[in-house]
Amino acid sequence: MAALRTYIIVRTLMTIPIVFTLLTIVFIILRVMPGDPITAMVGMKAPPEYIERLKEEAGLNKPYHVQYVNYILGIIRGDFGRSLIWGKRPVLAEILDHLPATIELTIFGFIVSIIIGLITGTVAGVKCYTKVDTTLRLYSIIAYALFIPWLGMMFQLIFGVYLKILPIGGRIDPGLTVGWNTVTGLYVLDGIITGRYDIVLNALQHLILPSLTLGIVLSGAYTRLVRANMIDVLSQDFIRAARARGLSELKVLRHALKNAFIPILTMMGLQFAILLTGAVLTETTFSWPGMGTFLLERIKYVDYTTIQGTIVFFAIFVSVVNLVVDILYALIDPRIRY
């Protein structure tokens, strides 16, 4: 147990330089790189006074080292600055408004991808080097090559435009949420908590197409991972030993899957970054009011502090998820746990 605690502490400390590096990279991209963001975003035609005013508001007219220190200190204090437009709300508050939508989408997309990936990967692994396997391998390549907006639009065309059985955009029918207070911001979960099953149903209907789109495209990677691990695990001694104990094939497969899953878990941190990239495209395609849609909207309105804050938030988010995945892995695998 002591070893586990040490591992968690060390792993957590390791996150600090990674976050720090990412913050520095974001700083360099947004402020030091040639081209200045405000001009690039507003366009050359804007009057110079206007550009100057925006720069001052965003604190971009100070020397780099001062900017950098302020930037890092702000983040450490949890101060992401204030939006430059409209209500000038704190950036963090705006981010937290949009985060649940993205999280809900990624959770469902992830579930779809892992289900498809586990089934196809297991079949391919069990039937390795057969026609079934080749077909599934082809599937994984095509799924990977699918462009998310395109797949999404094809779904919109079929289920929304022609069959008219599913909503093609948004998170929920606006009328339903009038006077309804969310708890976590995840509509399905909140609906269950507050007993509003009409909301649960409606939210699920809105989730189907986006999460299928995201899930299918990401499933290809899991098909490959599961297949490779299955082949590896199935050839191990304990599988033959399990059969020698008279276990049914289903039980043997359960032993195999559990063991094949551990290495996949270690890949999930990286997979999460891919999931977020996919979520940005899915959100745009389905007018999903999450972080991706939010970021793009603010880029359009040159809300500089919000753009920076959102990207910084993504950096921290990804690092924390990586940390959590690694700790989870240590907790699940008994060989590390004890």
Partner: protein
Amino acid sequence: MNIGFELIRKMLAPWLKEASLMLKLGLAIVITIIALSITAPLLTQYSPIIKVGDALRPPSTKHLMGTNNLGYDMFSRILYGGRTVLTVVVSATLLSMCIGVPLGLISGYYGRIVDRIFSIIMDSMYAFPSLILALAIAAVLGPSMVNAIIAIAVVYIPTYFRMVRGQTLSIKSLLYVEAAKAIGARDLRIIIKHILPNLLPTIIVVFTMNIADAILTEAGLSFLGFSVPPPTPDWGADLRAGHEYLLAGYWWLVAFPGFMIMLLAAGFALVGEGLNDILSLRGAEKR
């Protein structure tokens, strides 16, 4: 010493004999699309950026893939769009290879503090969602072809870095580099003559797979409005433009550009897979 070159020769020359179905299929797709975009002027009489007919016409013999909301011929836009995509993607991938490979070599060969610093930067970037990184860069630089190339190139540097660094580490520990060191070869000579050739096969595989990924990132960037400015033909941008007309049922505006993105990305992924198969088979044989 020349296993690297040997491998490439074996990989490419008799590929017809050794190539798997995957490799053949992939090459067929890739070569066809490249050929189509090069010979675009011969295949279509229409310019991709001039109104050539009524707007929003469905596919017909006159306009094979219909016309868009501005009356541009979609078939021409698809063909010429291939040029845009291939130019951006191949330049970007080459650029990140030219930066990532040397950095990986230096990091893996010299180790120590240089390696630590490079590694942490590259690992951080690698863990960051690629499209968001590219988006940030493209947004700062402004929408243009060159800027899109830079944005995509930066995103993929860590891919090469990590692969090259890892392999350099293992090759370095192999005997013959030790021997070469002992007789006083210069570092640069060791890197170029002994390490690089062994890396080449893997670099080629990574390069091909990387192009497939970059196609999707380029499409993402232009779909979000951060690649070439309109009216330059580009599949991702066309998909975005067509999205507005989707509800009205103008399916041809989105079906073709998106399909081409998938086809080209799948083509390169298949080539990468096929090459990788041959490579790992050879590896297994040697063992």
